[in-house]
C-alpha cells in the first residue's frame, strides 16, 4: 500500500499520522558529513596538523610555489616513502625556484618540529607530517606567501578562525532568534509587532551594507579575541530575523495546541511552557534555518577580512589570506595564493548542502522522502 493509502486509512480510524522518524542519511550526505568532519578535525587540531606556526617566516623561500611530492626520483627509482627535493633559487631579477634533484628528503608522519601548545594548553612538538627537523629544507605543501610563511599552515590555522566564527555565529543567531521569535510568537500583541517590524527593518538592508555598518560601530584597531567576538556579534545581529520569523510562526502553531493548555492547567509558568513545550518544537526548523545561513557567515568573515576590517594579520583567516591575492601581479605569478578561495568554496558548498540535507531529511513535504513510513 502506498503512502497516500496508509494516511487515508489512519485518518478514517480517527488517528493522526505520527511524526515521521528522521530519515536515514545516505549517499552524498555521508560525503558532506565526511568533508565537514575533516574540516572540524583540521580546525580542532591545527597546531598538530600544520607543519609550522602561522607566524614562522622562512625568509629563504619567499613566494615559493607548492613543492611537488615525489615517489620516483630523477634516476627513475621508486621510493615507497614520498620525498621532496631541496629548493634552490634560480639567479635572476625575479624570484624563481628550482628543485635540486641531488638532495632528497623523505616526508615522515608524526615528525618532531616546532614546539606548540595544543589549544594553548597541551605542549607538543609532533606534527602530522613534514621532513626531518635535522634536514636543511622545509616542506611547504602549498608553497609560501610573500613573507615566506607556509600557506598550508596558515590555511589550517585559518580554518580554525573561519569555522569557529561561523559556528559561534550560528549559535548566537540561533539563541537570539529563538528568544525573540519565542517571545514574539508566545506573547503576541505589541511585543510581537515591535520585534517583527524591527526584524523586517534589519532584513530590508542589504547584508553587506548592514555588516559594514555594524563593523563601523566598533573601533578599527581591536585585539584578535575581540575581533572574533565582534564578528560573531555582527553576524548574529544581521541574521537573527530569519531565524526569529521561522521560530515565531512555529510558536504560533504550537501555542494553541491542547498540550500547551494542559501544561498551563498543571500550573506551568510561561517560561516553563516556552522551554519545555514550545521551543523544542521550533528548534528543528530553527537549526535548519541557521545551518542554511552558515555559508553567509563564512562569506561575511571572508569579505570583512578581505577588506581589512575583519581578522588582522598576522592571524590568518581565509579572507585576509585572499586579500594578499588582490594584486594582479601576485595573481599572475603566485596562483597558489588563491587556494584559500578554494577552501571557502568547498566549505560553503558543504554547509549549503548540509542545510539542504537536514531540511530534506526532516521535512515531511519533501519529495525526496522515502515512501511508506507511518
Amino acid at each position: 500500500m502506498g503512502r497516500e493509502a496508509t494516511i487515508h486509512s489512519q485518518e478514517q480510524r480517527g488517528e493522526r499520522v505520527p511524526l515521521p522518524p528522521p530519515r536515514r542519511w545516505t549517499g552524498h550526505y555521508r560525503a558532506i558529513i565526511l568533508i565537514l568532519g575533516m574540516l572540524s578535525f583540521i580546525a580542532g587540531f591545527a597546531e598538530f596538523i600544520a607543519p609550522y606556526d602561522y607566524r614562522t617566516q622562512h625568509r629563504a623561500v619567499i613566494n615559493l610555489p607548492p613543492m611537488p611530492v615525489h615517489f620516483v626520483d630523477a634516476r627513475g627509482r621508486f621510493h615507497l616513502r614520498p620525498f621532496v627535493y631541496a629548493i634552490t633559487r634560480v639567479p635572476g631579477a625575479q624570484r624563481r625556484y628550482a628543485e635540486n634533484t641531488r638532495e632528497r628528503y623523505a616526508i615522515h608522519f608524526f615528525v618532531r618540529g616546532e614546539p606548540y601548545r595544543l589549544w594553548g594548553i597541551i605542549p607538543g612538538s609532533r606534527h602530522l607530517f613534514g621532513v626531518s627537523p635535522e634536514s636543511p629544507v622545509r616542506f611547504h605543501l602549498l608553497g609560501t606567501d610573500q613573507l615566506g610563511r607556509d600557506v598550508f599552515s596558515r590555511l589550517v590555522y585559518g580554518s580554525r578562525v573561519t569555522l569557529s566564527i561561523a559556528l559561534a555565529s550560528l549559535l548566537a543567531s540561533l539563541l537570539l532568534g529563538l528568544a525573540v521569535g519565542g517571545v514574539s510568537g508566545y506573547f503576541g500583541g505589541w511585543i510581537d509587532a515591535l520585534f517583527m517590524r524591527f526584524g523586517e527593518l534589519v532584513q530590508s538592508i542589504p547584508a553587506i551594507f548592514l555588516i559594514l555598518a555594524l563593523r563601523a560601530a566598533f573601533p578599527l584597531e581591536i585585539s584578535y579575541g575581540n575581533t572574533v567576538l565582534m564578528l560573531v556579534a555582527i553576524f548574529a545581529l544581521a541574521s537573527w530575523p530569519e531565524v526569529a520569523r521561522l521560530v515565531r510562526s512555529d510558536v504560533l502553531s504550537v501555542a494553541g495546541r491542547d498540550f500547551v493548555l494542559s501544561a498551563r492547567a498543571a500550573g506551568a509558568t510561561d517560561g516553563w511552557i516556552l522551554r519545555h513545550h514550545i521551543l523544542p518544537h521550533a528548534l528543528t526548523p530553527a537549526i535548519i534555518q541557521a545551518a542554511i545561513i552558515v555559508p553567509s557567515f563564512i562569506l561575511g568573515e571572508a569579505a570583512l577580512s578581505f577588506l581589512g576590517v575583519g581578522i588582522q594579520e598576522p592571524q590568518p583567516s581565509w579572507g585576509n589570506m585572499l586579500a594578499a591575492a588582490q594584486d594582479l601581479t601576485i595573481l599572475l605569478t603566485a596562483w597558489w595564493m588563491l587556494i584559500p578561495g578554494l577552501a571557502i568554496f568547498v566549505t560553503v558548498a558543504a554547509f549549503t548542502a548540509l542545510g539542504d540535507a537536514i531540511r530534506d531529511a526532516l521535512d515531511p513535504r519533501s519529495s525526496s522522502r522515502p515512501q511508506g513510513w507511518g
Binding site: L261, S262, G267
Partner: protein, 328 residues
C-alpha cells in the same frame, strides 16, 4: 455524600471574545460565548454540562480553571475567589483542579515520553524527589490500567483510549479534588467510551473526585451524572438532578436534545420533533429567549423577554416562559 458542601460556585460568569474587523481593527464585535451563567457544583458529585457544539460549554470549563480569563462574574473554589488570585497564587491553586481534554491526540506533547508527560505536573509543583516522582508515575499508570513499560514510550505509540488514560493519569498526578472533563470520550470509539467512563467513575469513588463533565451527548451523561445542566447559546436553560432531567425534562430544548438521543431499539417510535434549523450564532444571539427561533412552542413574549432561570421544583431549575406559565 455530603451533598450540600459547595466546591465550585459560579456566579454570573461571562466570557465575550472580541472580534476585530475593518482595516485598523476599529469595528469591534464580540462573540458572547458565555453570557451570564450561575451554578454550583457540590463536593463529590458529577455535574454534567450538556449542549450542542458552540454553546459555550468548553469555554465555561476553561474559565472555571482560568485557562481563559472570564470577562466578568465570579468563581469560588473551596471558598476562594479564583479571580482575585494573582498569577503565582493561581498556579499554586492549580494542583487542586485539573482538566481532561477531548482530543487525546492533541493533549499530549508528541515529543515527550509518557513518563515525562505524567511527571510534568509533579515537577512543576516540586513534588518529591526524582525517585518518588518515578514511583508516583508507575502508581498512576497502574491506576489508569496501563503497563509501566509505557514510561519510555511516546504518545503516538498508543491508541486513542490508551492516550486518554495517559491524560487522566496526568490529571490525577497531583491528587486534585476537582476535574473538568471536557468531552473526554467523544473522540473515542463507543466500546472504548464505556471503559473510560467506568475508569472515571472508579477513580471518583476511590479519590472522592468532583467532576464537571462536559458533553454534547446526553446518552453518555446519563451513566454518570449526579446533576445535569443544559446550555444553549451561552445560557443555562435547565439544571436538574439526573433522574429529573431524563424523566421530566421541562425546557423544550432539553426535550429536543433527549429526543435526538439514539435509542437502541428499532421499534421505538420517536414522539418528539427534531430541532428545527441551525443553531444561531453567538455573535448575534436572538432577542428574548435565545431558543425561540427553533422552539416549536414559542410564544410572542419569548421573542421579547428573556426568561429567568427559576426553581420550579426542589433542585430543578428551568428558564422558559412556558414552564413559568404552567406553574403560576
Amino acid at each position: 455524600m455530603r451533598e450540600d458542601e459547595k466546591l465550585v460556585e459560579v456566579i454570573e460568569l461571562k466570557k465575550y471574545f472580541a472580534l476585530r474587523k475593518g482595516l485598523l481593527g476599529t469595528q469591534r464585535q464580540s462573540v458572547r460565548a458565555v453570557d451570564g451563567i450561575s451554578f454550583t457544583i457540590h463536593r463529590g458529585e458529577t455535574f454534567a454540562l450538556v449542549g450542542e457544539s458552540g454553546c459555550g460549554k468548553t469555554t465555561t470549563g476553561r474559565c472555571l480553571l482560568r485557562l481563559i480569563e472570564p470577562t466578568s462574574g465570579s468563581i469560588r473554589f473551596a471558598g476562594t475567589d479564583l479571580l482575585s488570585l494573582n498569577r503565582a497564587e493561581m498556579r499554586a491553586m492549580r494542583r487542586h483542579m485539573q482538566i481532561i481534554f477531548q482530543d487525546p491526540y492533541a493533549a499530549l506533547d508528541p515529543r515527550m515520553t509518557i513518563g515525562q508527560i505524567i511527571e510534568e505536573p509533579l515537577q512543576i509543583h516540586r513534588w518529591g524527589t526524582k525517585a518518588e516522582r518515578r514511583e508516583r508515575v508507575r502508581q498512576l499508570l497502574a491506576e489508569v490500567g496501563l503497563d509501566s513499560d509505557a514510561i519510555h514510550q511516546y504518545p503516538h505509540e498508543f491508541s486513542g483510549g490508551q492516550r486518554q488514560r495517559i491524560g487522566i493519569a496526568r490529571a490525577l498526578a497531583l491528587n486534585p479534588t476537582f476535574i473538568v472533563a471536557d468531552e473526554p470520550v467523544s473522540a473515542l470509539d463507543v466500546s472504548v467510551q464505556a471503559q473510560i467512563i467506568n475508569l472515571l467513575q472508579d477513580l471518583q469513588d476511590q479519590h472522592g473526585l468532583t467532576y464537571l463533565f462536559i458533553s454534547h451527548d446526553l446518552a453518555v451523561v446519563q451513566h454518570l451524572a449526579t446533576r445535569v445542566a443544559v446550555m444553549y447559546l451561552g445560557k443555562l436553560v435547565e439544571v436538574a438532578p439526573r433522574s429529573e432531567i431524563y424523566r421530566h425534562p421541562q425546557h423544550p430544548y432539553t426535550q429536543l436534545l433527549l429526543s435526538s438521543v439514539p435509542v437502541p431499539d428499532p421499534d421505538a417510535r420517536r414522539e418528539r420533533e427534531l430541532p428545527r434549523g441551525e443553531i444561531p450564532t453567538a455573535l448575534n444571539p436572538p432577542s428574548g429567549c435565545r431558543f425561540h427561533t427553533r422552539c416549536p412552542y414559542a410564544l410572542p413574549e419569548c421573542r421579547e423577554q428573556e426568561p429567568p432561570l427559576i426553581e420550579i421544583q426542589r433542585h430543578h431549575w428551568v428558564a422558559c416562559h412556558l414552564v413559568g406559565h404552567n406553574h403560576h
